[in-house]
């Protein structure tokens, strides 16, 4: 079989064998499954291990790594058994100090709650930038910050009315996008990346600076601008649907937030199916080709930067509203990268990608957080303290999420919604 699939080579070349990549993946996943990810990675380790063995079997001249694959497979089985045991024990008995139902409820609450909305909005903006146009904006947190502070500073420091302040908050990201775009969008892609990440940091440090704390609130941030928003809240009691529950305030934010997401998605959907969206996708592929056909590439990139930046600003505005306070640490570069994570999970250049991605991201982060938190607390914790203690567990969930992202890139590089065919195209 192998002889027919491989190209006929003139002479039997002495090519060195290489370890099949799936074998390495399997072993890594197998170890990760038993340690960091509490069994979640294990079924994948098993699967990859089988894949690797089959591939090595089919092509023994080219590949090695049988032992690694076997190791991954065995560890995968062990981890899967462990995972199933935990699930069964946790769901149906009291023997485990972990309440699996609570874990799921926490996770679902976060996946549908205000935090996921913030990241969904930010990721929708990044989707316009990176997914459709190929612009590397690493400063989405900066757009969020000007959106949030545009509102807070206007109301608190300058005593402008709430609705006028909302207007300022919507305009601020446009100004920022133009300031960033004019000098960089004519240059290579990397310049925008550098300029955006630097600007976002400068903004965060400025907003938190001691010198400007009279105007911008310093590291304590600003509060007391959201009363109009809260007065509009028609809900006066807690919403409990069984699988999710929100406080009255959160219910209002969830309603407002998902409506905002829906409108943004509608805008993206309508624009990206149009010839305008086609130009953006073409720019992502090859700017010079687009130029040669008479399109003003700079203008299109600027429009995309402004549009995506506005979505970012909206994310900041919503964060400021739902939280009723702005603090500079909420706009660190981490936020940008988590939004990118959400985008890649859901699938770039897909309308729903960033939203589904943000929901999954928050589901995993908070689900794992809740599970590991419970598993490491109490007098006799499920996970012995020499492996991980309670304070460490809140960090481990990020490590685990990173691993999850790796898994995704291995198995579905196009994200949940992406088009496999697009990935399969090689750039000749």
């Amino acid at each position: 079989m192998s002889a027919t699939t491989r190209e006929p080579s003139a002479a039997p070349t002495l090519r060195p064998k290489r370890t099949h990549p799936a074998a390495i993946a399997s072993a890594v996943l197998g170890v990760a499954g038993l340690t960091l990810t509490a069994g979640i990675a294990s079924p994948f380790a098993f699967w990859k291990g089988r894949q690797a063995l089959a591939a090595i079997e089919a092509d023994p001249d080219d590949y090695e790594g049988r032992n690694l694959a076997n190791l991954g497979r065995v560890l995968g089985v062990l981890g899967t058994v462990l995972l199933l045991t935990w699930l069964v024990l946790g769901l149906f008995t009291d023997t485990l100090p972990v309440d699996i139902a609570r874990v799921f409820k926490t996770a679902l609450n976060q996946a549908l709650g205000p935090n996921a909305i913030v990241f969904a909005l930010a990721a929708i903006g990044l989707n316009v930038h990176f997914g459709y146009t190929g612009l590397l904006n690493f400063g989405q947190a900066g757009f969020m910050a000007v959106g949030a502070y545009g509102l807070a500073v206007s109301v608190v420091t300058f005593d402008i009315s709430f609705w006028a302040a909302v207007g300022i908050s919507l305009l601020a990201p446009i100004v920022l996008a133009i300031l960033l775009g004019v000098p960089t969008l004519r240059l290579r892609a990397d310049y925008l990346a550098i300029a955006t990440i630097a600007t976002a940091e400068i903004l965060r440090l400025t907003f938190g600076s001691v010198e400007m704390s009279d105007t911008l609130g310093g590291s304590n941030g600003l509060t007391g601008y959201a009363s109009t928003y809260q007065q509009l809240n028609p809900f006066d009691s807690r919403l409990d649907l069984g699988f999710v529950a929100f406080s009255a305030r959160d219910t209002w934010s969830v309603l407002v937030g998902w409506s905002m997401v829906a409108i943004c998605l509608l805008i993206v959907w309508a624009l990206m199916r149009s010839p305008w969206g086609r130009v953006l996708r073409s720019i992502r592929e090859d700017e010079d080709a687009v130029r040669s056909l008479g399109k003003n590439v700079f203008a299109y990139k600027m429009q995309a930067l402004v549009l995506g930046g506005m979505f970012g600003g909206l994310a900041g505005l919503f964060l400021a509203l739902k939280q009723a306070s702005v603090v500079p640490t909420d706009y660190s570069t981490n936020v940008t990268f988590f939004a990118y994570t959400a985008l890649l999970i859901g699938g770039a250049a897909r309308v729903f990608g960033p939203v589904v991605g943000a929901m999954i991201f928050w589901f995993l982060i908070s689900g794992l957080g809740s599970f590991l938190g419970q598993a490491t607390s109490g007098i006799d914790p499920l996970v012995p303290t020499w492996i991980m203690d309670n304070t460490q567990s809140s960090l481990v969930r990020f490590i685990a999420t990173g691993l999850g992202l790796m898994l995704l890139m291995i198995f579905r590089p196009q994200g949940i919604f992406g088009d496999r065919r697009e990935i399969a195209i090689d750039e000749r």
Partner: protein, 319 residues
């Protein structure tokens, strides 16, 4: 249908200009030049990639630009279309000076080029590549993009025109495929067809036949001729001498950045200066049978500088 798909060119009916009486020397003035350039010079480090004293391209005919690899043909294309900046020189298209005019504006003026290393948009389908070429699209404006009723009819007309062109270039079977899945020759065809969507007055083809299979080459020759018969002007770079002899009305020969000869195909092919400059060491070989391997590796070397605008970004400010 063809009434609105074929460009309406006033010159289409006019008789083709006869260039046979023209003096065969470099930089000779043409009766009705569409492009006119003077003192165009572009250096890379110490090397003068292009150093053209005077060039004129006659309107309504097919002009071939030939010369050995590294002669500066692609660089001249880049300069004329604004994709690269010259050290000095000026040129005009239809009397409009193109000094420091951005590439997209050059294209809008009606001067559209293809690339030696094809630039198809791999993750767009073939038909989407084609649609992108159409100019003046209302749907490409931000404010009307979200309102399909404003652009749908125009889009349909563009699609019809695109389908006609695809059929002409035998790509209709590939209509819904990603352009990235096409073969090298098919990409050349798609790029040419897409450039025609712009409805250019002057189309500049950089090695359009490279990688196109011989059977298709013949029909492509016919298409290029028909472009001229529609009233368009064609300037093309080609290594295939049979093709040059077959379809070009005028030939410009470059070597080491300079125009070393001009003339009708037969004049040029019998010009000893050309044979010298062009063939160099390959004196006895048929041009079409130059060492394939050598050509390949030279093409690869060109990959690195195909779009010098990018590579030279930082260097541009240095005097």
């Amino acid at each position: 249908m063809s009434a609105d798909t074929e460009p309406n060119r006033p010159s289409a009916a006019a008789p083709r200009p006869d260039l046979s009486g023209l003096e065969a020397r470099p930089g000779v003035p043409k009766p009705d030049p569409i492009v006119k350039g003077d003192g165009i010079r572009r250096t890379f480090g110490g090397l003068a990639a292009v150093d053209v004293e005077h060039i004129e391209i006659q309107r309504g005919v097919i002009t071939a630009l030939i010369g050995p690899n590294g002669a500066g043909k692609t660089t001249l294309f880049n300069l004329l279309t604004g994709f690269d900046m010259p050290d000095s020189g000026e040129w005009s298209f239809n009397g409009t000076s193109l000094q420091r005019v951005a590439p997209y504006k050059v294209a809008r003026l009606g001067m559209v080029r293809t690339f030696q290393l094809t630039k198809v948009l791999a993750k767009l389908t073939v038909i989407e590549n084609m649609r992108l070429g159409a100019t003046g699209q209302r749907g490409e404006k931000f404010w009307s993009a979200a309102l399909p009723f404003l652009w749908r009819s125009q889009e349909e007309a563009n699609t019809r025109r695109a389908d006609d062109l695809l059929a002409r270039f035998k790509l209709d079977a590939k209509r819904e495929d990603f352009a990235g899945s096409l073969s090298g020759g098919q990409r050349k065809l798609l790029e040419m067809a897409r450039a025609l969507m712009v409805d250019p007055e002057l189309i500049m083809l950089d090695e359009p036949m490279a990688g196109v299979n011989p059977a298709l080459k013949q029909s492509l020759l016919g298409h290029v001729k028909s472009l001229r018969d529609e009233g368009r002007t064609v300037l093309f770079v080609e290594h295939d001498m049979d093709m040059v002899r077959d379809i070009s009305d005028w030939v410009i020969v470059m070597a080491q950045g300079q125009i070393v000869a001009e003339g009708t195909p037969s004049e040029v092919m019998s010009n000893p200066a050309v044979i010298d400059a062009y063939l160099g060491a390959h004196h006895d070989t048929d041009l079409t049978e130059l060492d394939e391997h050598e050509i390949d590796s030279e093409a690869e070397a060109e990959l690195a500088h195909e779009t010098p605008r990018k590579a030279d970004k930082h260097r541009k400010d240095v005097p």
